[in-house]
Symmetry: D2
Subunit: 246 residues, 4 copies
């Protein structure tokens, strides 16, 4: 096979970004059948890069391939989203257990603690005055370090896949809730869990590390339940919520 | 998008089967770059169904897409295979826990017990005289019932995906070891674990159901270690082992 | 056997209280051999109630019977105390799992939630202004409710026994740290764990309930490590710390 | 306190053995009040060693002290016995997890494997021809090694206590079922669990070691359920079953 030429790659990337955006905004509704010919025309690209883009979105869980009708926009139930969050907890829990059981080099433990210190700095002061961007950065780094520490290509790939589902990423709700006080308080609980996970890995307590990481993922569930209880107008500002049908 | 015409679907299916077979037999070595033009010509099909086939094999974990060079045959280490088996145990364990926690209708419990009775029948007599096809059928049904009982679309999809990886299916080693006595004895242990899982689900003991199911998956690991210790000629008869590089 | 007459019971109770107090204050040092004759004389009671009292203190883990020399005051290492805290977490975790697995009547779930609401009230306002007596009351009731919900005489007895060891009770450090700010903040984490345990029991998620309860017990460990790092004079105010030898 | 003189110790030991035997045989029924004066006379000893003996039997869980009426023979329900078996699994599971997490010296791992090899030897040949005394010896040594490997005085004491309850010892049903074929087959499952526990400890997989050990204890539960289904005459030959009221 010859490598895909640059122009086609660019068209594919463009289509992925454009379609992901439309789906997240609800501009294309859940369940909509994606007709290839008009869609390619609409995006101003040819069918081959469009199909590549649809396959990428399928991998992200945003569209599904039906044998008879081609691709349709995925339609998620509330319970699908809960299950996807649980799945991430399951996989990250396995990564944390594995890291604890096999041991982690001192340098990586030091990196974990340094990351936790950065998060502490972001949470200085009273709830309401936290540095949320700093928190989100540290949080993302922490979750990556746990995956690195597991040293398993299989787990890394699965966790990467699980995070592409809407809402199941560790950062899913972070930036959509800037000004909410209960949410900001919940970051203190999250950070206490981060600390406990690193403590468990350092002591090589795998069962504890796994269970803490699972429980940690459930904070996203609490956030989701909170958001689902909001007014429709507020819910529309949460990216990807358009995929969830009642 | 118009539905894929039948002829193309048939060509795709043909290519998937042919390539999977070549890869499993080792006729195409791990790491080989799959050049699209000569490969399509060799299979006597056009490039569009070939690309569909490659995407399907990518989903099965047999080939990988590299951004610069296109598709290559996957090269698995022994430790990748171990991780894939652990992953299946993790996911099936979550399914069993969920079934236990949420409760399973009596009719489904009855189906589980009926399946276990069929496996018992297949294991009548002394090791060496077992009905291995009967065992494999019952075993496959048992694993499907656990997934059904979890009632989670997300878990079902993930388990289906995890099982496509070579060796990670619950039936992975069943038919390649017909005449081996220690292997036949290990089926008694497997069946004891099946019984304990159903007992735990019936009593709604989720932690126990999860842990039993995880441990159950590790029997595949023991079988794998056993096979890796065999002579090269014996190993070549195990489908998919060709993907594993030392 | 005739019932023990009241007078003797009173002498026994008196001796238990007096000796427990001396041991907790460090007035009788760890490892001290308790000579029956002078001790009975000192307490102004006869030897039979004294021996009953010593057997009671043995049951509480404060004295040990040596076959050759009679009773001696127990001498605990730091690691013994850690293990005793872990033991309580293990047993309370089993109680919470059991409650979740077997199900808890709605009326008892309501009692749990009412108790959690009382604790919330005690934690109104900023750390430093909490109602610690209210917290301690609610905390004690919460732990009792978890034990009740398990409906196991065996677990109830074991948990009661485990709590008599110094520092291993859920209330162990509550009243000795009134004015400490980090300690008061840790009560918010504890209460978040209480809420999560009741959520898990309500959803019949036994594995989760068990793991949360285990993690909850570890807060006592954190408190213990904190106290062991204090000045000797501050440590002397913590009841029972006199038993811990370096 | 002066050491207890030899004569009294001997009388105490004599009384413990005699009373334990009567209780296990059912010669003294569950719930019977033990009157001290006639009992001492009947055994031909004085009241002081008798009371020591009763305190020892209380510690073993065979008699209970009631505040108003003195000692009575304990009366266990079937569910108490199940809970006691679960308790042993919980504690031994914690010991195995701890050993795995903290690591075990190579020499002790070697001892474990040597013990497992001895058990394998006892299980040579077909079920029905096993060396049950050899199995019981190896089994006892294996359980002691797990406790040793945990290096926790607290866990050791708790496990020793938990094993004194009738039926909850790892050897509880071993010698009462010599000729029973299904029972002999269950020994193969037990030994597979022993092997898996040592494998988990060696790999430092604490969660797995804990869960295997818990499941291992449940074999006693299966045996108990089997025995409770036997004819009354067969049940009377099982020591301690007399304590269990329907």
């Amino acid at each position: 096979m010859t490598a895909i030429p640059d122009k086609q790659t660019n068209s594919t990337d463009f289509a992925v970004t454009a379609l992901r955006d439309r789906i997240f905004r609800g501009a294309i509704a859940p369940g909509t059948r994606l007709l290839e010919v008009p869609l390619a025309k609409d995006l101003g690209i040819s069918r081959t890069p469009l199909r590549q883009a649809l396959l990428e979105l399928e991998r992200e869980g945003l569209v599904e391939r039906k044998t008879t009708t081609g691709f349709v926009v995925r339609s998620l139930t509330f319970s699908d989203v809960c299950d996807a969050i649980d799945l991430r907890g399951l996989l990250e829990g396995a990564a944390a257990r594995r890291a604890a059981e096999r041991g982690v080099p001192d340098a990586m433990i030091a990196q974990m603690n340094e990351t936790l210190n950065r998060i502490d700095t972001a949470l200085t002061g009273a709830p309401g005055k936290f540095d949320l961007t700093g928190y989100a950065d540290g949080n993302r780094d922490f979750h990556h370090l746990i995956v690195d520490a597991a040293q398993s290509r299989v787990l890394r790939d699965e966790i990467a896949r699980a995070e592409t589902l809407p809402f199941s990423s560790p950062s899913a709700f972070l930036l959509s809730q800037r000004d909410d006080l209960p949410f900001q308080r919940s970051l203190l609980t999250s950070q206490a869990q981060h600390r406990a996970v690193v403590d468990a890995i350092t002591r090589r307590e795998g069962a504890r590390a796994e269970n803490l990481m699972r429980e940690h993922a459930r904070i996203a569930l609490t956030n989701l339940e909170y958001i689902m209880g909001l007014e429709r107008s507020a819910r529309q500002q949460v990216p990807g919520l358009a995929l969830v049908v009642d």
